[in-house]
Amino acid sequence: MSVELKMTGEVLTAYLSGELDHHNAREMREAVDEAIELNHPSMLVLDFGQIGFMDSSGIGFIMGRYRNLSRYGATIHISDAPPAILKMMKLAGVEKLATLPKTVKESKK
């Protein structure tokens, strides 16, 4: 499980990898929140391309970052989510919090 962070202009991209469950969510949350606080991005891109498994802890993770960012009007974009993860996101109604990729394998920004 790891997070790679990249700031390009006003966009913060978090490349997530590994398994996003309750056990791993805390480490991801701390890494992403630290970068948000430091950089105040106008958009956070969460890249799920290297996530092999995600349960509803991943939805809690997106909801938490949405709460932080929406305080100052910033947005979230979900990128490169595999089909199983999109299935979970659609069940949870994540499109109310973030923009989802139009195709299953949207190319990385």
Partner: protein, 147 residues
Amino acid sequence: MNIVNRFSLNFSARSANENFARAAVAAFAAQLDPTLEEINDIKTAVSEAVTNCIVHAYAEKTGKVYITCTINDKNELRVSVRDTGCGIENVDRALEPLFTTVGGERAGLGFAVMQSFMDDLRVRSVSGRGTTVTMVKKIRPRYGIGG
């Protein structure tokens, strides 16, 4: 309906074991020749059930999680996840999507995911005594070459 195979395991209710629990059930389910999607559904539902034990049932104390899995001759996997924790006061309310008692980073979707990803979900709980979640997944037989 005859049970053709069974396994059970118990482990400490520690979050480090969430991965182990879902991987063990998925490995057992593999003999039913499920699709990748079916395996992912099972792993996700088990992960939700085990996380509930750790986050809710044993919020005040540590304990054990007990998993029993059976396979029957109708190609069905039955997974039961049991704890001896605090129990759920109102099961109907706990089953409502987005209902959560802990807030913060928990989405309140655990039971909704189990319901949606599995074919059947039953929750039995006694306040102060513990909870048993039983889920069933029907694995569609695939008749390919050599199948």
